[in-house]
């Protein structure tokens, strides 16, 4: 314990009392903690049910189009709300790099005018790289169906 000047004696005495109280409480809590750890499933060391991880593998291709919600508007062969993937693939068969990038941006930010008056909704949950991969997949696979 550090001794201070006489004028601060009272403050230090108060601190000492407080410290003593805290130590006693801590010891009491320590005892309780040990009790809980051994007897209650909710205490320290509880084992929980096996953590069953969900499928973290990144979906690709058709799986991604389902997960991202694209199938809500587009069918492989059929017109749903937007054009079919086949129509898109046929329209952009020989698309250059700029056009492919424009298509990917359209997936993320939406657009209107190419296929009618109804806008395509934005999909901010889709990363631009995912959009590029999706375009690539559609142009490669939709025509082959």
């Amino acid at each position: 314990m550090v001794r201070k000047l006489t004028g601060e004696k009272q403050m230090w005495q108060q601190r000492f009392s407080t410290c003593k109280a805290i130590i006693l409480v801590a010891l009491g809590l320590l005892y309780a903690e040990a009790s809980l750890a051994q007897t209650s499933p909710e205490g320290v060391g509880q084992k929980r049910l096996a953590d069953r991880p969900t499928a973290e593998e990144k979906p690709v291709g058709a799986q991604f189009l389902v997960k991202a919600g694209c199938v809500a508007c587009h069918g492989m062969d059929e017109v749903r709300i937007g054009p079919s993937y086949r129509s898109i693939a046929e329209q952009y068969t020989d698309a250059d790099a700029d056009t492919l990038e424009w298509l990917a941006q359209k997936i993320v930010f939406g657009g209107v005018g190419k296929w009618g008056v109804v806008p395509m909704v934005a999909n901010p949950h889709v990363q631009i790289e995912e959009a590029r991969e999706s375009i690539s997949w559609i142009l490669k696979n939709a025509k082959e169906q």
Binding site: V2, M11, V25, R48, V71, I81, V112, V117, V118, H125
Partner: protein
Amino acid sequence: MEKILGWSSLLKGGSKLLKNAVTVVALLLVTGAAAQANSLSGRVIRLADGQGVPGVSVILNRRAGDGIGADIITVFTGEDGEYHFPDDVSPSSLSGASLSVRALGYQQLSPTASPFILSQNDEKKLSVNFTVKIVNDLSENAPASAWLAKIPESNEKDFVRLQCIGCHQFPTPKVMQYSKQIEAGAVAMGMTDEESSAMVRKESWEAIVKYMRARMYDIFPDGTNIDISKLAWHQIQDNETTLFNAEDGKLIAEFAATHMPRSYDALTGYDYGAELGVSTKTVIREYTLPDTSFVREVAMTTGSPYVWGADLQKNRLLRLDPQTGKQDWFYVPSDMPTGPHTIVGDYTGNLWIAMMEGDVLAKYTPEKNDWKLWSLREDFDGAAAVGSEAMVHDLTFDKNYKLAQDKNGNIWLTLIGHNKMASLNPDTGDVNRYDAVQIEGRSPISISLYGTLLSDDGTCAWYAQLVGVVACFNTETHESESVIEFSEGSGPRRMAIDGDGILWIPLFGSGKLVKYDTNARKLLNTYDLPDLSAAPYSVTWDPKRNIIWCANSNVDAIYGFDPKSETFSVLPLPRGMGYLRRIEVDENTGDLVTTYANIPTGSGPSKVVIIEVGD
């Protein structure tokens, strides 16, 4: 439980608590303070006159983890603009944290950086003052409901609120952007005359209705069998298997095309509609969850200090320690997806969970880490469409929002997929099903049998159907009686019953609160909410305060209703997309416990919210 232990056990295993106690003692000696008081405080003043601004939210964002508890803490300024964070916000947790202010009708001017990053320092107390200016354009902080305020009230508007806000706020930023795309597209295509532009809007919103029917499949959990990819387009659009049928869809599209704002650039003339019910003692603590989870409701159970949540997306329960912020996850032990949906505690420490998929009711006992599941499956042909399963939705609770059983031990449940009330006896496993009120021209799923609760004497399972019906299901005669009919868009959803047998009915679509005497079987009064587009998803009776709390989905605020004075107060949430479904009142602390629940998963904030009201 074995509680008597020898002192030897105290010496084993390294005592973290003892180490912590020593650390605290050391800190006390060094700092000379009995407690860390008000480590972060300051003032918010108005530029125009230098006066303090009351009721401003001051939001502290800390780095999550390390046992600090909530990562986001919000307090409010008092009459003179002063604010202070609670004593348990330690200086060490402020390093790298950020601070910002939020208030309807104000914009932060200084510090110029918003949010303001707190710099690391050795100061035990930190003071940050803000200057704000009054702004006429409220679009930055106004809730979604504000954009609907200027549209005249009508049954059609009620119905659109009921159907659209059932999943997400309306309008969300995404809806606003779609509206802009419609207008921009019309201009780009040279279709700006009245007739052409009306046609563009009509077709665009009709497309959205179809889109929403398809996106409805997002509500199911990981691994779901209710799988859009297994269905043909005509099945996805089948009016019989969606929440809104052909007529509903037409109404929604027409309303949106006619009335939704054409521009969202600026918003003026909106206020909360009631006094703020906050003080400098009000503290909102938010605990960020993974954004891949969808904890749509939380509950507490007697004897457990934790907050328990139903993670519908991941087929599991959340256990949150509010003191440390630690999250643990407990998966439902099933090979099939379940989608925990509604969660209710009981008086003996169990949790009861209705599952969105698989027609299952579960009981989880935290003390034993034990699950029990019951099936309520009937007439299921394996179809992958919405409404093919019975879909166990809500279960009966009492005035304290604890599980309630009738005198025969039955729990009563709503089967939203089949529009039936079901009884389950958890001791015998017996299940019985009975028709709820039928509504001509509507499929069972579009009637949407929703909330239910039990009267004190157990004879009445009051239930609500979203398309405007509340009734008592007599648990002895097995008939519906005392049917209360509201307009089709009014949307009674999840009710509460108080200690006097008063049934409080929130009308989600029309923005009202109804007071009904279940003893006299008489409707007593109907109150307009401060914002008719608030979309009150549920109400909770607070027995200690005798207040009805409204969990609103569209106004980024909680309402407190005082039945004595018949007035509302407003408790603003710290963020937009503050979509709430229900509020639990912690029976020990009186804190309000809730969670944000925008559909689909990941579209809005994913956080548990605990509110010290400060009264």
